[in-house]
Amino acid sequence: MQRTRRSLLAAVALLMASGVTLGSSGITSPAWAQAGKTLTIAQGFDPQTLWPNGTTASDNLNAGGAIVESLLWTNPVTGKPEGMLAEKWEQISPTAIKLTLRRNVKFSNGEPLNADAVVQSFKVFMDPKQAPAYANYAAALDRVEKLDDMTVTVHTKHPYPPFELMLTQVYVIPPAYWASVGLDGYGQKPIGTGPFKLLEWVKDNRLVMERNPDYWGKGPTGVDRVIWRPVPDDTARVAGFVTGEYDFATNIPISAIDEINNQPDRKVVEIPSYRIFQLVQSSLEEHDSPLKNKRVRQALNFAVDKKAIIDSLFAGRAFALNGQLLRKEQLGYDPSLHDYPYDPAKAKALLSEAGYPNGFEIVFKFPSGRYAQDREVSEAIAGMLAKVGVRTKMTSLEPGEFLRQLRARELWPLAYLGLAPLDDPDFQLAQYRSTWRYSYIRNAELDALIDAGAQEIDREKRAAIYRKAAQLMHEEAPVVFLFGGYDFYGVSNKLDGIVPRGDQRFFLQNVTLKP
């Protein structure tokens, strides 16, 4: 027995020794994490494609946009469209825009940036088979003509006010290279005019880019290399950011903000998002529910305490909508409108007037895992509605099924929804036009205003149209106006010049990494 014990002890000692060796040799960090002048960015997911017009997902666009550039871009600092590969743009008729391209710009394979490249890029952009995610913006385009080597004219089918925004969506590709590798090949190995070039892409692990020495602009300072790391788990992303593995991290959860802000060398940047949260209240004829009655829809607006949700679930980090869908910064925002105040007594009175003195029961659909705290927000709302007698039957939907029901107009009678269209009032309001696939309101007056706004070139007149639409929607209450969200980014103090935008886009063109 003695012998047994000794041999077992020896075995244990051996095991422990091997364990210790394992632990100590693992302390080394990967070589690329220690390389100087490397900017490391953690996002939630690995891009599917680096061709920005391949998808509208921000993880793809942020990485792809460091290599492939667009004609214009909306500068997050000014909120205005500025030139990128187009130096000048002017409206030469109500349906034509002349673009002058930036001179002496080359793609990183040597192809020149010229009118041919731009015409070819538009051709791809306008083909719903190749760029289906952008067909909504391309729908207004008629044709694109080369005027001379550095000038093109873009013709729209009708006067199109958001044409500058549309031009920010067109990414320019080198035609010869595109022809040789095709759409899918280009998405995996893109060649562009941007500040970085693709060096290595190990899927789901790291995407490495190196500085483009021939970049036409000022370009990044102190950065020779960018490493994009996909880190799907929030806790792991925050941990990696806190320990210095990443200089920049997206999608920081609210619960981690204080922990990060307590670090001496890092902080959280809070950006108001373009995503607008609302409760869909279908008033469509075919959707039989108490919500067909305007007073009921207004009652629900009075019954939900928006401020309590913002303060308790979002720690104050969300913004009130003021009873409309456009944000304060947008054209057509109406400062005379205000949020429906929280007034359960008024809500009950309206319900009585509408013939529901004892309230009613209603199905309330919400996605689980699509938006930050979607379940918690929905549960809070259900509790508030119960207080005025509206008893909800909560139906949680998997995100894919949620989107299917939205699109198929099955997301009725009541549903929690967040929509984040591009930053133009038409893209926001067109979602409520009665013919639109997931509009849950049918109102001829609203349709007429949406159509008028979509074609009015004069800014003042256009703003007036949208203010009128906002007033109409406030009164008709096709939704419960909830709040706008925030996005949170972890930023190292060494980093300057990355300003995220409300659509979760950020640009590396002017980034500075201090030693």
Partner: protein
Amino acid sequence: MGTYVTRRLILTLPVLAGILVITFLLTRLSGDPTDLMLPPNATDEARAAFRMVNGLDQPLWTQFIRFAGNALVGDFGASLRFGQSAMSLVLERLPATAELAAATMALALLFGIPAGVMAAVWRGTATDVSIRLVTLLGQAVPSFFLGVVGIIVFAVWLRWLPTGGRGSFGQLILPAATLAFNLVALIARVTRSCMLDVLKQDYVRTARAKGVWESKIIWFHALRNAFIPVLTVIGLQVGLLLGGVVVTETIFSWPGVGRLAIQAIYARDFPVVQAVVFVFATIFVAVNLIVDLLYAILDPRISYR
């Protein structure tokens, strides 16, 4: 033996075919990928074009015939998200999964078998009780919790290890240890109970009476005979590990098959889901076959004719 292996291999074919049919139908039941691949405000024309390009506009049986025909030659189609061959996406990630599985299994065997043997030999002592307590904990604590605790302690507090990713030895330690903790418990418990059975056998008493060294009795005579059930457990676990471990791979940003599979399922990327399931099923069947063949090597009384 040769006939046995051939028969088993032939039986594998209907199993794999059945799995392909079930996967095809289940993925189609889950809904239309167009809703997830395109933004909600995509035009009807764009949606129709997407469905046409990816063959989703065809009747289900047409889709199936096309799928089955291509699958016969190993072509599972192109991923709806990446546009690349679905099978190559899976094979690209297989080395990462295999690396994690090998490291996990090595750790689990290194600790699990000695722990099980020690607990059996010193049954009822403090050592036995502590090993059982630890193994109970190992089986009870879920890996998502253990993984997060591991990151907080070893990456954030102690700064010994990186939080995730793949590329260096250090990045392998936390995910492998997280997975192994649970596996050590399982292997130790099975080893302990089998050893307890075997140690009571007559041939062990005979060996002792003959004066054979106790350590030789335990590690050679007893363990070898106790090993068959342990091998079964190991085989099943290797199969599971090679199929990808979704939670651990996600927490540690490990670029393996499990993460690819879960993202493909969320996005309804049918071709990738089908390719993953096919590879997983093939591995599982192969590992089971290998384990069955190993039985015969361990125990000469077992033979396959």
